[in-house]
């Protein structure tokens, strides 16, 4: 069996081979494995690095994005000079430098209902390192339809979750959360922030689970949701039963083919350029900034008023119900929720700034600080 690994491979993986749970046979299994990592961001960085170091024979990386300066606080596979470059290209290069004995496949594409099934069919196992609900549901659904294990992880602020879905008769992501929340219901890391280390912690758990599945050793997170709270340094594990009525993996599924996931948004919007035109033409507008004071300190629109979204319900009396209000936040999700709240409370003219202050900075005023 030792013949299946070269001399240099036996040396490189010697600390694995010494483990009774791995040995030469297990290392050969790792070498034969084909793993697809969806998302080369915070989670994807440690996942790709550890799977490459471990000797996973084929690692596919899916991402269509470019490296941004704001990524480097947690996306440790990149270095400063990578800013502006293709993520899959740089991540593959770095992982290849770490381990030239493996095959790295670059998928510089946006995962969609058109390409996911064909792509997933080329791999044994999928690791979900995405950063948005639409892609998470797409990954889950494609895993169910191709019967591939889905090693899941997600993070927000000081909190992380991990699980293994669609594995050995266990539940899928929709068994816990049947449909994606509306766009404005749950803030993402770009809006709420995340401690960079969280990506490492949860990403490493995902890489560990992926290797355990390949090795067929130990107990996986199948049927459990692992919760980690860094502030109180508490791990918790809650049981997640398979839902017999699940829309995609239940006994009478209503989802039988892959469709792009639409995350709904119910409020009226205004683009940054239209808002700029209206301000220039002298329209009387109330610019309502619903971000936190910490964010306002970084950048703000001139003449805006700040009521953080958590205080909005209690401070509605500060606003005129007949006023022409444009609500904004960082990228548009929290302000959509705020706009909905105002509309429900009988405010007449409420619009949400599409893309938030980031769109304003991109399209109108690049002198403001980006974060």
């Amino acid at each position: 069996m030792a013949d299946s690994l070269s001399k240099s491979e036996l040396l490189r993986y010697s600390r694995h081979v010494l483990l009774p749970e791995v040995g030469v046979e297990g290392q050969q299994r790792i070498k034969s494995a084909r793993i697809l990592v969806v998302g080369a961001g915070g989670l994807g960085s440690p996942i790709v690095l550890y799977l490459a170091a471990a000797g996973v024979g084929t690692i596919g990386i899916v991402d269509f994005d470019k490296v941004d300066l704001s990524n480097l606080q947690r996306q440790i596979i990149y270095v400063n000079s990578d800013v502006g470059s293709s993520k899959v290209e740089r991540a593959s290069k770095r992982a290849g430098e770490l381990n030239p004995e493996i095959n790295l496949v670059q998928h510089d594409i946006k995962l969609s209902s058109e390409n996911a099934i064909d792509l997933f069919n080329q791999y044994d196992l999928i690791v979900d390192g995405t950063d948005n609900f639409a892609t998470r549901y797409l990954v889950n659904d494609a895993c169910v339809l191709t019967d591939k294990p889905n090693v899941y992880g997600s993070i927000y602020r000081f909190e992380g979750q991990a699980s293994v879905f669609v594995h050995d008769g266990g539940p899928c992501y929709r068994c816990i959360f049947p449909t994606p929340p509306p766009q404005d219901a749950v803030p993402n890391c770009a809006e709420g922030g995340v401690l960079g280390v969280m990506a490492g912690l949860i990403g490493c758990i995902q890489a560990t689970e992926a290797l355990k599945i390949v090795l067929n050793k130990g107990e996986t997170l199948k049927g459990s949701l692992l919760l980690y709270d860094a502030l109180s340094i508490k791990f918790d594990k809650l049981r997640v039963p398979r839902d017999p009525d699940c829309k995609i993996c239940g006994s009478n599924p209503t989802i039988t083919k892959l469709e792009d996931i639409v995350v709904s948004c119910s409020t009226k919007t205004i683009s940054a350029s239209d808002l700029h035109s209206q301000i220039k033409s002298g329209d009387k507008l109330v610019l309502l900034d619903v971000r936190t004071p910490e964010e306002v300190a970084i950048c703000r629109l001139e003449n805006s008023i700040n009521i953080p979204i958590v205080d909005l319900q209690d401070r509605l009396n500060e606003l005129d119900k007949q006023a022409n209000i444009v609500v904004y936040c960082k990228s548009g999700a929290r302000s959509a929720k705020a706009a909905e709240l105002l509309t429900q409370d009988a405010f007449v003219h409420v619009r949400n700034l599409e893309g938030g202050i980031l769109a304003w900075i991109r399209d109108i005023d690049s002198s403001l600080n980006v974060y």
Partner: protein, 86 residues
């Protein structure tokens, strides 16, 4: 009873991850939580009184599907919220 609050809802609880509250049922508990932390219930329960699909409740580590579950005051409650970040 001890209630674990997920990160996306901690803006309502002054960033507290655990709070003590009470109620004779999960529904009652959520009403009491909303009195202490206005607006938090609407983030978990929709206009029809159903649990929002990105929220899960656990009573003593067992998932519940209805908020009409009686409580005796000694339970541990976990509120779980779907997270998207990566």
């Amino acid at each position: 009873m001890l209630v674990h609050i997920p990160s996306p809802l901690r803006s309502y609880t002054g960033n507290k991850s655990e709070i003590q509250s009470d109620g004779s049922s999960v529904d009652d508990l959520l009403i009491n939580l909303d009195k202490s932390y206005p607006g938090i219930r609407f983030r978990m329960i929709d206009e029809q009184g159903g649990i929002r699909e990105h929220i899960k409740f656990y009573v003593n580590r067992e998932q519940i599907k209805s908020i009409n579950i009686a409580l005796n005051g000694n339970e541990e409650i976990h509120i779980i919220c779907a997270l998207s970040g990566g």
